[in-house]
Symmetry: C2
Subunit: 361 residues, 2 copies
C-alpha cells in the first residue's frame, strides 16, 4: 500500500529550514521521499511491504548507496513484521526470501549487501521469533541513526581540508538524498559551510538520470549553499579555465586496491581533474568498502535505454536505435587524491592505507 | 510567413532512401528542416523574410556552422529580393541592415561571417540594382552547391584513413543536418561506408541541446549506418574499455594556431582521447578557418539557462538557480591528430600546415 502526501514545490520551501529525511521508519512503515518527483514536488511515500521497498529501489524512488542500504534494512523489518512464521526456522526462511529479493534490486552499490548482511547476522543470532523480529527492527533503526553520525564525522574530516573561497565540483548526488539525511560528498560541503567557510559548488547535471539537476541542485538550494548547475559536457571547459579548485564525489563501492565505483561520468571527471592538477576526492562511509572483490568481479549495472530515449513526454532519440547505458564506472586509484571516511582521510597508496584502517564484518 | 508540411515520423522513413536537405532555395524562398522538431517529426519550414531566417538561426531551427552560413546567405537573397530600393546605394544600405541582423545571431561559428562577407563582396562589386540582386542569389546558390562538393571531397580525404571494423566516436551533429546535405564529420563516416568499409559509430547525446540523440541518431538511422547512442558521461568509460578506435568531430571555428572551437564537450573528449591514445580528428571545410583571431578574441556564446531547466513539459532543476551554459569550448592543437578539410588532411604542427594550405578571401 502506498500513501502520498503532497508538499509545496521546492521553490516555496524556506531555505535551510529543515533537514531532508530521505528514508525513515515511522509507525511500522518505511517513509521515503519519492526522488523521481523531484525537483518539481517533494512527495513522501509510505510502504508496509518489503516488495514495495524493492520496487522503490529498482525504480530509483530511493537511490544513493547509503540510503539504499538503510531502505533495504527497513525492508527487512517490514518482512519480519509481516511474517506469520511460528518458529525461528520458518521466520528465517521468510527473511531469506526478502533478503534475496532486496539484494537483487541493484548489483553495483555494496552498502545494500552490507546492510542486508548485518540484518541477517542479527536474525540468525537469536533463537526466539519475537527476539528475531525485535532485533531486526532495532538493527535497522540503529543503522539509520549511525548513518547520520557517520556522515557528520566524515563531513568534518573532509571539511577540515577545504580552504576559504574554494569552488568545488561534485557529480551525481551524494547528499541528504543519497543517505538518511546528512550526505557524504555534500556532507563535506555542508560541514565546510557550517564551519563558516565560504565555498561555491559546481554541480553536474549527471545524465541520464539527472541526479545533479534534480537532486543535488534541489538540496543545495534547500540548504542555501551557493552553487551553479552545468551540463556534463562543460566539466573540461571549466577546469581548463581554472574555475574548479577541487572535486568531491561519493562512491557506490570501493575495492581494497582503491578502485572506486561511482555514477557513470565519475571516471572522466577524475581523468580531467588529473590533467588540470585539480585534487579529486571521494567521500564514503566504511560500509562502502568491498575488501574481497577485484575489478573483474564487479558487475556494472546496465540500465534501461528509456533513460536516454524519453524525458517526460518528449522523445529524445529515434525509436528502435541501439543505446549503451552503463550506470557506473570505475575510477583507478592513481586519479584519487584522498578517500574521506568517518574514520580518517585515506591517502595513497590505498592498498596500504585501506588495509591499515578499514575493516568490518 | 511560415508554412509547414508534416512528414511521417522518422521511424517510418525508408532507411538510406534519400539525402536529407537541411537548407535549400525553392521558388524564391528558403526551405529548411525544423531541427527543433527532430527526431519526432521531419517538418520543413519556408521563409520569405530574412528576419525569419535570423530567428531560425537563433532558435536552432537551423544549426551547424556550414548550414548556418548557407542559411544566412539565403537570408541575404531574401533581403535583396524584398528590398524596394531604386538605387544601388540604397539597396546596399538595406543589405547592410540584413547583414548586421544575420551576423548578430550567433557569435562563435565563423562560417556565418564568412558567408555574409562573400555575399557583400559580390553586392559591392556590381553597380546596378538588378545585377546586385541577381549576383547575391547566384552567390548563395553556388555556396549551397559548393557546400555539397566540398563535403564530399572532405569525406573522401577523411575516409581514406579509416580502417575496416573501426568504432568511431562523434559528438554533437556534424552531418547532413549541420550542412546543406552531406556532412563533415559524418560525411567522413558516410564516405567510409560508401567505400564499403565496415564501421560502427558511437554518438554522444550532447547535452544540453541533444544534437547527438535528436539529430546524429536520426541521421545515422536514416542512412542505415550502424551506431549506438551514449550519454556524455560514458565517453571516458568506453574509452577505458578500449571500445573506441578514433574520434571525429566537426568545428565551428579553427584558428591559425590550430585551436578548434566546437560544441561544448569537445575539449573533454579530446583530452580523454589523448589519455587513452585514441586519435582525435576534426573535419571542417576551409570556410571554418579564422586566420586573424587569437584565442583571446573569440566570444564563446552563453546560451539560455532554459536549455538545462526544462525538457518538453518536464522541469529538470529547481526554478531560480544559477546555471552556466557555454555553447562551445576550445580544443588546443596538441590534442588534435589531424584536421580533415576538402583540400587535404592537415597535420601538426598546425601553425605551419595551416599557413601553407589554408587561404581564402
Amino acid at each position: 500500500m502506498r500513501y502520498r502526501k503532497k508538499h509545496k514545490s521546492s521553490g516555496n520551501l524556506r531555505k535551510g529550514s529543515k533537514d531532508l529525511f530521505t528514508v525513515k521508519w515511522e509507525n511500522n512503515r518505511v517513509v521515503m521521499i519519492d526522488q523521481t518527483k523531484l525537483p518539481g514536488k517533494l512527495v513522501y511515500v509510505r510502504y508496509n511491504k518489503y516488495e514495495d521497498v524493492a520496487k522503490a529501489i529498482e525504480r530509483l524512488i530511493v537511490r544513493g548507496a547509503p540510503a539504499i542500504g538503510v531502505a533495504a534494512a527497513f525492508g527487512m523489518s517490514l518482512a519480519a513484521i509481516s511474517s506469520r512464521a511460528k518458529t525461528p526456522n520458518s521466520l528465517l526462511k521468510d527473511l531469506k526470501i526478502a533478503y534475496n529479493r532486496l539484494r537483487s534490486t541493484r548489483p553495483t552499490a555494496v552498502n545494500l549487501v552490507w546492510a542486508l548482511d548485518q540484518i541477517m547476522k542479527q536474525a540468525t543470532s537469536k533463537s526466539d521469533v519475537q527476539d528475531i523480529k525485535n532485533s531486526i527492527i532495532l538493527t535497522s533503526l540503529n543503522m539509520a541513526t549511525d548513518d547520520i553520525t557517520i556522515n557528520k564525522k566524515l563531513g568534518k574530516n573532509g571539511a577540515q581540508m577545504i580552504s576559504n573561497d574554494e569552488v568545488i565540483l561534485t557529480h551525481c548526488n551524494a547528499g541528504s538524498l543519497a543517505t538518511v539525511t546528512y550526505g557524504t560528498a555534500l556532507g563535506v560541503l555542508r560541514a565546510a559551510n557550517e564551519m563558516g567557510k565560504n565555498i561555491r559548488v559546481i554541480a553536474t547535471e549527471t545524465r541520464p538520470v539527472m541526479q545533479g539537476s534534480r537532486l543535488t541542485a534541489f538540496e543545495l538550494d534547500h540548504y542555501g549553499i551557493d552553487f551553479s548547475l552545468i551540463p556534463d559536457t562543460a566539466v573540461g571547459h571549466l577546469m581548463s579555465k581554472g574555475t574548479i579548485s577541487r572535486v568531491i564525489v561519493g562512491a557506490d563501492r570501493i575495492l581494497k586496491t582503491g578502485h572506486v565505483y561511482n555514477k557513470i561520468g565519475t571516471y572522466q571527471i577524475a581523468a580531467l581533474a588529473k590533467r588540470h592538477d585539480i585534487p579529486f576526492y571521494v567521500a564514503a562511509p566504511i560500509s562502502t568498502f568491498d575488501l574481497t572483490s577485484s575489478v573483474d568481479d564487479v558487475v556494472i549495472e546496465e540500465r534501461n535505454k528509456n533513460e536516454l530515449m524519453r524525458m517526460g513526454n518528449k522523445l529524445l532519440a529515434p525509436k528502435g536505435i541501439k543505446i549503451l547505458n552503463p550506470a557506473f564506472d570505475v575510477t583507478p586509484p592513481e586519479l584519487i587524491a584522498g578517500i574521506i571516511t568517518e574514520k580518517c582521510v585515506l591517502m595513497p597508496p590505498y592498498e596500504k592505507s585501506i588495509a591499515k584502517n578499514i575493516s568490518y564484518g
